[in-house]
């Protein structure tokens, strides 16, 4: 086994070191922009012995304008430890990893702590107290006694000090482009024929995503337009942020079409390109005990259709806002969280994803129904006759809203706020008119005009 570790100087542009490594081996592990490990098994036949490969690696990096250290050893961890410690080229003879690592200071290990292990600094302090300064001294400790004192973490550190890899190399795959394009023989003007073109492009894109277990996080549609005049843009580009990773071809096509319906291209189209920003696929665990929610694909298609039909701001989940203004609320995207996710998050002490969850102050046990108000979003003007500072007759000029003599009333409740900008200052009354309808009325104190705020129902 033969591995090379490359360690570049600070300020190396991203991706350059990986490109250098890929020129020598397809199996590379990119640890960071400055730290790359190559699997050199079988490469000797192409480039020569280990020293020749190391020199060639350094020369290629220099051609790209970066300075690198190179170390070649029998294991990845040995190569990486050596490249951190020694500048220039280091080539270790086969099966001499442990002796080569022995004089290295133990502080080097602190940079190689895998996540579940005790942090390197903490363990380093213990080793210093024991008088252990080098990797060779750690490697020479009796394993059983080390395990008895430090547990599994200690054993792992010792294996690293001996130059033993904790797991096989997992090669980093080059970033794939998930895109499709089609040149049209005849320009398209309508969206209907475009739907067939989009369908044809989305199918292979969806298959590609599925093979790589990826979903689309953002969908980009680029429509190259026929130049009608100088004002026509060359490209009409739309980007859709998807609420969840998805790769269903029909859902992606529908979402793209609905977006183009709202934002149509200004000229005929002669080339269509679709691309996605990939993200890891979604893993869904259904429950036998709770009702399943609609899939994100279905939900986002529904929301896109509703937005196109009713308007973008007219559909969503309502939310209360921190204000004393009586009609204050805001609309949030409708993204219900699965009950199972909430339960799991509660169990693990995590907060639910949606920030407003449980903000309804509700989720109270079953009780008597609570009186509701049907609110007139724009208050309706009313004419009110007042006697002894109490309303006694109301007339409302709105079809379907009956006025008349007031049988019972309660009030006034004065509310005011937001005086530093266009605020409100009103006296509220609840009144029941002779027909039996109960209204909430208010008198605007600044104009002395009466309005219907809503119907108690």
């Amino acid at each position: 086994m033969l591995f090379a570790a490359l360690f570049a100087a600070e300020g190396t542009p991203p991706g350059v070191l990986a490109d250098v490594a890929r020129e020598f081996s397809p199996r590379i592990d990119i640890r960071s922009d400055r730290d790359v490990v190559l699997d050199l098994n079988g490469v000797e036949r192409l480039f020569g012995n280990a020293r020749t490969i190391a020199e060639e690696l350094r020369r290629t990096a220099a051609d790209r304008g970066i300075r690198v250290r190179v170390a070649i050893a029998g294991t990845r961890i040995a190569a990486r430890l050596l490249v951190r410690h020694r500048a220039g080229l280091t080539v270790i003879e086969p099966d001499t990893d442990a002796p080569a690592l022995a004089p290295l200071p133990i502080s080097l290990l602190s940079e190689f702590a895998p996540a579940p292990l005790t942090p390197g600094e903490e363990l380093g302090r213990v080793f210093r107290q024991w008088g252990i300064r080098t990797l060779g001294e750690l490697a020479a400790l009796p394993s059983d006694d080390l395990a008895a004192r430090l547990g599994e973490d200690g054993m792992t550190w010792q294996r690293l000090a001996r130059g033993e890899d904790p797991h096989p190399l997992v090669p980093s795959l080059p970033e794939e482009r998930f895109s499709q394009s089609l040149d049209l023989e005849w320009p398209i003007e309508e969206l209907e024929p475009l739907s067939f073109v989009l369908g044809r492009l989305m199918e292979p894109l969806s298959t590609h995503l599925e093979r790589r277990d990826r979903g689309a996080a953002v969908l980009h549609v680029r429509l190259h337009l026929v130049r009608i005049d100088d004002t026509t843009p060359a490209v009409h580009e739309r980007s859709l942020q998807l609420p969840a990773p998805m790769r269903d071809a029909r859902a992606l096509r529908t979402l793209a079409l609905l977006d183009l319906e709202s934002n149509p291209p200004p000229a005929p189209i002669d080339r269509v390109e679709v691309a996605v920003d990939p993200t890891p696929g979604r893993i869904v665990q259904f429950s036998l005990l709770t009702r399943a929610l609609p899939t994100p694909e279905r939900l986002s298609t529904l929301m896109a259709r509703l937005h196109a039909l009713m308007g973008e701001t007219r559909c969503g989940a309502p939310a209360l806002v921190d204000s004393w203004r009586p009609e204050a609320f805001e609309m949030r995207p409708f993204a219900p969280v699965d009950v199972n996710v909430i339960d799991r998050n509660k169990a693990s002490g995590l907060r639910p994803q949606a920030s407003g969850l449980g903000q309804s102050q509700g989720l109270r046990p079953s009780a008597k129904p609570v009186l509701a108000l049907r609110r007139c979003r724009l208050p309706i003007p009313a004419r009110v006759r007042v006697n002894d500072n109490r309303p006694e007759y109301v007339a409302i000029d709105r079809r379907g809203m009956s006025g008349g003599g007031i049988e019972s009333c309660a009030g006034p409740w004065r509310t005011a706020g937001d005086w530093w900008r266009e605020g409100w200052d009103r006296d509220e009354w609840e009144v029941t008119v002779r027909g039996g309808t109960t209204y909430r009325l208010f008198r605007a104190r600044d104009t002395d005009r009466w309005f219907v705020e809503g119907i108690v129902d």
Binding site: L306, L320, K368, P369
Partner: protein
Amino acid sequence: MFAIPLGGEYMANIARVALENALRDRKLDRTLTTALLALERVDDGAMVPVDVAAIDRCLQGGVPRGHLSEIAGPCSSGRTTLLLHLLSAATRRGEIVALVDTLDRLDVASAAAAGIDLDRLLWIRGSESSWALIERALKALNLVLQAGGFGVVVIDLAEVPASTLKQIPFTTWMRVQRVIEGSDTACLILASEPLARSSGGLTMALAGRTTWAGASSRSRRLAGIDMRVRVMSPRRRIDGEVNVQALTSEITAS
């Protein structure tokens, strides 16, 4: 050789079977008639409880899923109160619900006070009363029902003028019924008067009156609504009346 007598009763039976087959082919066999036995599920999850014990007892469990039902009543009869209570119970069970609010009348504070988990409520807001708006609201209702996955879907047509409601073709409600048939969604219409009169669903006709507390005019305050709910479902052979009391949120809290 024997000749089979083709009597009037025999011919009538043949005609009836042919008619029933034709209706079944077009999936209209249970939409148009109340004569056939119900094929509804009988498990606990087949109903959406209103969460008012007296009403649920009378409804034999609640509002049926896969059917179109109605809450009808005049202004201040408690129809919105009852609806929000039903939606609150549904969201507490973890279901998601949708409200097509044709005239944009939902008071978010009332919904929160009723205990609705607002994150699980899809609110589709109309704006003003016009035929085009009703048409859009009905389209939105159709989209939500076809998407599926909602426990309760409501269209609020209360306060829409009767003249506008009359323009809705009766077949609209049959189409809605066809969309939800066999699904787990209970569709509800909130209106001043019964509109759909679906044979499979039920109608809750409300009459109510607000109640007041306090003896003097200074101490007087709104206490609640005494609701009289009449529930009817011809196919389920339900016809009963229940009295329910709704209270203001302050009184409930105390």
